[in-house]
């Protein structure tokens, strides 16, 4: 199954989205969360993101969803730190974090492949609320 990693400056944000996405997928999808610094401040940590990617990787790829600013840079850095072994298998979705995470998790839970999960996550930015 495709893995998902959620990245936010706030630990509470990713914990909440994790809860929501896990409920909707019956806990079937490996979802990792990276949020806040080790000493409890708001922020992102590239090494934590890297570890979460490794943790949820089942060999079918990992889609990373991020919030704003340094989350993007830290996630890009995490992917670089993973090296060649993961090249092309981990991508950041250009998608809103909450909607993208739910769309990606549901798509992964029905067994879709990496490209499809990434596409569906990115399509979430076109979702209309009304």
């Amino acid at each position: 199954m495709v893995g998902i990693v959620l990245v936010s400056h706030s630990r509470k944000i990713v914990e909440g989205i994790y809860e929501l996405a896990s409920q909707m997928t019956g806990g079937k999808v490996p979802i990792g969360i990276a949020g806040g610094t080790q000493d409890g401040r708001l922020g992102t940590d590239a090494t934590e993101i890297m570890e979460e990617i490794k943790k949820v990787d089942e060999g079918e790829g990992v889609v990373v969803l991020v919030d704003i600013g340094s989350a993007v840079m830290s996630a890009q850095m995490a992917i670089e730190l993973l090296g060649e072994e993961y090249e092309g298998k981990v991508k950041i979705a250009d998608a809103p974090l909450v909607e993208g995470a739910i769309a990606a998790s549901v798509e992964a839970s029905i067994g879709s492949d990496f490209d499809k999960v990434l596409l569906v996550a990115e399509e979430a930015k076109k979702l209309n609320k009304f």
Binding site: Q38, R41, G43, T44, A46, E48, G69, S70, S74
Partner: protein, 212 residues
């Protein structure tokens, strides 16, 4: 003139000290146009760097020291300056891997690698109101000075002056990157916190070399 490993460690100590002294100032600058955490974040990061360096074996080369600083910043800073300065130090470390002293040429290479790393990571250029506005003029001043046979301490002094001018210039322009870009024109009139911390680091480098 060469920069020894001991000099590098002295420079790092100086940076740790100067960032700590300017923690509140950097955070105030960031409060005006960003998210008010630049000083606190960098101080935490460099505290962790100081701690981490004490655990490295005596035989550790300069490249590994710089890479270790980079990785430590990446995992402890939290804000955008973590991946940015982290990349800068890691790239700098790569170009002097295995060395126990640095030639003047190596120092130019370090500046170049750090600058390129930050540009790539942040997808920014000079004039965007970022740390690049301090680092790029410093790099150019250093390179020009050394090419014109100016001694390293004076070349670094000129680099620090160029960084200072670049930092001051950020006051006159509007931000195109980072949280401050949300403010657009309203960011004019404020110094960029990243350009300021970059200047402080370059100045620390120059000060240590000029005093030794």
């Amino acid at each position: 003139m060469v920069i020894t490993k001991n000099d590098v460690l002295k420079i790092v100590d100086k940076i740790v000290e100067v960032i700590k002294e300017n923690k509140e100032y950097l955070t105030e600058l960031d409060a005006a146009i960003g998210d008010a955490d630049h000083g606190i974040n960098l101080d935490r990061g460099f505290d962790a760097v100081k701690q981490k360096l004490t655990t490295l074996p005596e035989t550790t080369d300069i490249g590994t020291i710089l890479k270790t600083i980079g990785m430590t910043l990446v995992s402890t800073v939290g804000g955008a300056s973590g991946p940015l300065y982290g990349t800068a130090f890691m790239r700098a470390g790569q170009v002097v891997q295995g060395k126990n002293e640095l030639s003047e040429e190596d120092i130019v290479k370090i500046f170049e690698a750090a600058l390129d790393g930050i540009k790539q990571r942040g997808k920014a250029e000079a004039g965007d109101k970022t740390m690049i506005d301090s680092i790029e003029p410093a790099y150019k001043a250093l390179k020009d000075s050394l090419e014109n046979n100016i001694a390293l301490p004076e070349a670094l002094n000129r680099a620090a002056n160029a960084a200072k001018e670049g930092m001051e210039y950020t006051k006159n322009i509007s931000a195109r990157k980072g949280r401050a870009s949300y403010l657009g024109e309203r960011s004019i009139g404020h110094l960029d916190p990243g350009a300021t911390s970059a200047y402080l680091m370059i100045k620390s480098f120059s000060d240590v070399v000029n005093l030794s």
